[in-house]
């Protein structure tokens, strides 16, 4: 436990994530303006009244970033959770039972991995349409194989351990073995992968929204606001700077956490 607190990476990462979550939860209370409220000042430079300035429609950029956190996290969190819900059982089964199921899933993953995630997401959105629900499902669908692969590898190792064989000898059921013996042994890799997936999910949502294929304006979204800000960017860099920095900070937070977890949980890195 001291190690968790002692690592500056984990600490900074957790602090950033905690801050983001608090902002998302308290958003309507702390945002000085409404997301689509016209403040009467168009393209105002950052000032005390508008710390991040206003956009072409006179909307307060800070307020949009605060309220947009709900959309960004609201896509990333359910998407990652859903990918875990799909990926963990698939990985456990293909690793533990193997056989035909293992072969089929692996070939399928090869196909999905043969294609860059973001491009796959863009194409899928193009076909099914852009909505928050679709984004969640698409991102989860693309991430689930990564979870399954991360789960499968250690499952193969744990499966051969004496305690699992002993359990089997005593007539334990597969499901019980998976839950009692295998799952606790693979929590570490899952946590590391999940934190990494959070940063990737945030980035994917931001990228899609940036291209106009994600959260649709006038709903506030960091990526979409950055994309929209480009149209009038010669009138003020702040329009793209602050949404962009926010995305970067959020991604950084999850990356730091995943680095910290890896140092902590990966035996290779233990000193």
């Amino acid at each position: 436990m001291r190690k968790v607190i002692g690592s500056p990476a984990t600490l900074t990462g957790s602090a950033i994530i905690l801050l983001l979550f608090s902002i998302a939860i308290l958003a309507p209370l702390i945002a000085p303006f409404g997301a689509n409220e016209n403040t009467g000042e168009m393209l105002a430079s950052p000032s005390w009244a508008h710390p991040f300035g206003t956009n072409i429609q006179g909307r307060d950029i800070l307020s949009r970033i605060i309220l947009g956190s709900r959309n960004s996290l609201g896509v990333a969190i359910p998407a990652v959770l859903l990918s875990l819900v799909i990926g963990i059982p698939v990985g456990l089964l293909s690793g533990f039972i193997g056989g035909f199921f293992d072969i089929i899933t692996n070939r399928l993953f090869d196909i999905i991995f043969a294609f860059p995630t973001i491009l796959f997401a863009i194409v899928l959105v193009a076909y099914v349409g852009a909505s928050i629900e679709n984004l969640v499902v698409i991102i989860a669908f693309l991430f689930a194989p990564r979870v399954a692969v991360v789960v499968r590898a250690p499952t193969l190792v744990v499966k051969e351990k004496e305690f699992v064989l002993a359990g089997r000898m005593f007539g334990a059921k597969t499901l019980w073995l998976l839950r009692k013996h295998v799952l606790p042994n693979i929590v570490g890799p899952i946590l590391i992968e999940a934190s990494l997936l959070f940063s990737t999910a945030l980035l994917t949502e931001a990228s899609l929204s940036f291209l106009g294929l994600g959260v649709q304006p006038p709903n506030p979204s960091w990526g979409a606001d950055l994309g929209k800000g480009r149209e009038f960017m010669e009138l003020g860099v702040f329009q793209v700077l602050f949404p962009g920095l926010t995305i970067m900070l959020a991604v950084l937070g999850f990356n730091l956490l995943s680095d910290g977890l890896r140092d902590l949980l990966d035996p290779k890195n233990r000193k």
Partner: protein, 316 residues
């Protein structure tokens, strides 16, 4: 070598068949009626138009037959015609392909140029100040989205260096200088993230290798530090980095979509985006297939490079 190559190419087939089936299946997940989606309500009510579109897409036959028919056409190099301008899809793709190829090539070179030396440096001095600085740089590079860095380059470039062109594309053969001056910005933008990732791989690999027995032996027999590091350690440390570079080139190809959009580079990614806006489905399908062929090829080339770099790896 030759038999390995043939084997690998054969192994590529099931993946490509899978990708083609997925792209084919995409046509079927469009909600609602595809003809209405593509042509608008008024045109789709015209039975002649409807029949023509369904035939063009091969949707007028049973499912499996449709797929075989479609695949057969693609294998003959017929990717269909664009819904927008009616020209063959293949021509358009072949026009955009070299642009994306150049972009990704220079991006990868810049990523290696920045990432690998810094990674070696950080690994050799691990735990010291240069390491901390390099790791911090890597962390920021990984976290900064390419479309954000790219937008900043375009905005700030236009504002403070109005004479420097950052947008658009000039073919290399037309004007090599104008080509390079423009392509360097999107390439470097694209390369920053991958460079940061390669830095991390290199650093980790160098640290691992430096703790190997043969490095200790080399040190013990009195070789100068420089020679130990660069002759013994780094050469071995770079082998896993080659694999990483190959895998991340695939990622580069995906991210190029965003960077091409930001810098108005007329590559494959931008073609996909505009086709999406126009609902030009044959174009999207063809682009998807070409990109996955590209990625499979990159991974194959990487494996071959690794076997050259590491005599212990046998191609089989």
């Amino acid at each position: 070598m030759l038999s390995y190559l043939i084997k690998r190419l054969v192994l590529m087939v099931p993946v490509l068949v899978g990708v083609s089936f997925l792209t084919f299946a995409l046509m079927r997940i469009i909600p609602g009626d595809i003809v209405t989606n593509m042509m608008g309500v008024s045109a789709s009510n015209n039975p002649e138009t409807r029949a023509r579109v369904l035939q063009e897409l091969g949707l007028d036959k049973p499912l499996l037959e449709q797929y075989v028919w479609w695949l057969g056409r693609i294998l003959r190099g017929d990717f269909g015609h664009s819904f927008v301008h009616g020209g063959p899809v293949l021509t358009e793709i072949l026009r955009c392909l070299p642009v994306t190829f150049e972009l990704c090539l220079i991006a990868m070179l810049s990523a290696i140029f920045f990432g690998v030396p810094l990674g070696v440096f950080a690994g050799v001095y691990s735990g010291k100040l240069p390491d901390t600085v390099a790791r911090l740089y890597a962390l920021l590079g990984i976290s900064a989205p390419g479309f954000f860095i790219g937008t900043l380059i375009v905005v700030l470039g236009a504002k403070y260096f109005p004479g420097v062109p950052t947008l658009g594309y000039v073919p290399f053969l037309e004007d090599p200088m104008a080509n390079l001056v423009r392509i360097i910005w999107p390439s470097v933008t694209l390369g920053i993230g991958v460079g940061a990732i390669l830095l991390r791989y290199t650093r980790g690999s160098v640290i691992d290798v430096l703790s190997e027995d043969y490095v200790r032996t080399a040190e013990a027999k009195g070789l100068p530090f420089f020679q130990v590091v660069y002759k013994h350690a780094v050469r071995n440390a770079l082998i896993p980095v080659i694999t990483a570079a190959g895998v991340w080139t695939a990622y580069l190809l995906g991210s190029s979509v965003l960077v091409e959009e930001v810098f108005a580079v007329p590559g494959l990614g931008r073609l996909v985006l505009s086709s999406i806006q126009n609902r030009d489905y044959p174009m999207i399908q063809a682009a998807v297939i070409f990109m996955s062929i590209g990625i499979c090829t990159i991974i194959l080339i990487t494996d071959i490079l690794v076997s050259f770099a590491d005599p212990r790896v046998k191609l089989q």
